[in-house]
Symmetry: C2
Subunit: 343 residues, 2 copies
DNA sequence: CTGAAAGCGCTTACAG
DNA sequence: CTGAAAGCGCTTACAG
């Protein structure tokens, strides 16, 4: 039985003694080296956590404000801007700082990822917010090994179990959009979505499908088209829909950007919105309000999503237990000028 | 005669060898301890400087990538997004990192500023990019004292001598906009600008004035109105212009956002653009392309401006001499649908 | 995959 | 004031 030692900052050697492994092995775990048996790693990680060990890299960065890294796929969209605005707001409240980067979507995840995680530890990042990008098990491994918290906003794929994600009620939003069109008498309603595998896209699509099904309406062949969350996909999507034998009378677009593309192509072809074609967007950014006609759109609380993503990340970084691994904020259908009763 | 040693970072021990004192003594000098003879201290300091020794404290901020801080007044505009995109592009090229913040425009500059500069030094920032904000002599003092380089993009006021600024050829752009309208036969041309004191606004205004003057056309009273670079200023501006005895037949707006406001208010009032009113914007963001009718606008190369601001800052931070304290990139008038001959 | 041994750069305590 | 010696916390190279 030993007296509690004067509480000093635990050293690497102390952790070694505690776990019964050597100092070099602890060093390897701390620095995320690969050549450590999983069992050993787990044991050491637990002791590290328990004792509150801080690596030199961590230590030297932890005296200033916390720094959170944000990886966007692109920064030039109203969606990204609104989200960034919310993240910055949250950071200002928490006294944290934001480093912005573009996720190099060109390269596949690999050794690069490991380097990125290592760099982030070296620079003392509190964690990473990933926006509209894929988050794979190999990401998870690289970040978890180094105890870097991650929050994913609107992930492009279902993130591995245990990864926190923030989004909106995409399914209800999709359902609300379709119901609005159904209520206006439309039955030939198409869906022009983003990347097929994107989780938010899937949810919007299935919300739409469920609304149609519950009214006993089946979706025509060719009425569901996937692309990217960009105006170009709206242009090509409308073009494809008009080539169908039975063109739709209404379109639900998976994002405002897509809807703007539809609008542009419709104008180009002399199709009047909403007289000839009703159109609903998704996101509720300034784009929806500014376009002509103003877009009926399912609004996401993007600023709040950004703020909450930041706060959730910091909470994880402080080691707090989270209530949930998925935060979903309410969407709201905002009716403007781009939808009208079927004539 | 010894061969040049492989250039590694000089260690404390190396400095000791160089000066002929012991390592502990060098350590004392580096850490500013008092118990060192003045002569010894001087000798060691000189060697430290000469060899470019970096203390662990210093090193912790300088071994990673360079970090540049960017202060926006707001991040939710196409203007800011495009600029940020360029800045990030430049940072990726240079291996630098970007910390984004919103400049707290609410508080006046004071002791706060000094704190900010001090914090930036503590965190080892390479410098600061200021976007569309005021940069005053007291900023200059706070940053110069700490040898922190600063680059101002589209400053709201003429920055103090010696501060580097990046912008576009606003005067020529303003002149080009007005000449385009004059060429279409318009003579009653109003200017709806941003903040009166903003340098870029002044340049655009005077470009416009010079075009009118050189055709011997005088500007009606009330035809020049200042506001903010926001849609609201377009709405209020058009309202004010329509209340004049002689309403203009064409408007040159100081930004696309202002022009979009004009467009919205015009539509609201049943005024057709360009049939009843010709309209030219400024910036050439996605806003201009997406609005209906698509805006004739003076395009600024915002991405390039961002990239160049970043590169210029890093060059300063490396101590390179700059050729010029003002970098100006070319603007270009892009004619779209919002302008037509005077009928 | 593990750890004894050697080593790194720096600091401390203290004898002179 | 100075520096030989011991020590700190951590990492590296490498034998097993």
């Amino acid at each position: 039985m030993s007296l509690a030692p004067p509480t000093r900052k635990p050293t690497l050697a102390a952790i070694a003694r505690l776990t019964g492994v050597s100092a070099p092995t602890v060093s390897k775990v701390v620095n995320g080296r690969g050549d450590v048996a999983e069992g050993t790693r787990a044991k050491v990680l637990a002791a590290l956590e328990e004792a509150g060990y801080e690596s030199p890299a961590h230590r030297r960065n932890s005296d200033g404000p916390q720094t959170v890294e944000v990886a966007f796929d692109s920064v030039t969209s109203n969606y990204s801007s609104a989200l960034l605005d919310g993240i910055l707001e949250g950071a200002a409240e928490a006294g944290a700082e934001i480093v912005v980067g573009i996720s190099g979507s060109s390269r596949g995840p690999g050794a690069d990822l490991d380097r990125k995680a290592r760099r982030m530890v070296d620079e003392g990042r509190a964690g990473l917010i990933v926006v509209t990008s894929a988050f794979t098990p190999s990401h998870l491994a690289a970040f978890r090994r180094r105890r870097l918290p991650v929050v994913v906003v609107d992930p492009l794929n279902p993130p591995p179990a245990g990864v926190v994600s923030v989004g909106a009620t995409n399914w209800s939003g999709g359902r609300a959009a379709a119901e609005h069109l159904l209520d206006l008498g439309h039955e030939r309603i198409a869906y022009l979505g983003g990347p097929e595998s994107a989780e938010c896209n899937q949810a919007r699509l299935h919300g739409y499908l469920s609304a149609l099904m519950s009214r006993g309406i089946s979706v025509e062949a060719g009425y569901v088209i996937h692309g990217r969350f960009r105006a170009e996909s709206g242009i090509s999507g409308l073009t494809a829909l008009l080539a169908l034998e039975k063109a739709p009378t209404a379109i639900f677009a998976g994002s405002d950007a897509i809807a703007v593309g539809v609008l542009r192509e419709a104008r180009h072809r002399g199709i009047r919105v909403p007289e000839d074609l009703s159109l609903v967007g998704f996101d509720g950014t300034a784009l929806a309000e500014d376009s002509v006609p103003a877009l009926t759109s399912v609004a996401q609380p993007l600023q709040d999503m950004g703020r909450i993503a930041l706060r959730t990340l910091l909470r994880q970084s402080r080691g707090e237990q989270l209530d949930s691994h998925r935060v979903e904020l309410a969407t709201q259908l905002v009716v403007r000028e781009s939808t009208a009763p079927l004539s």
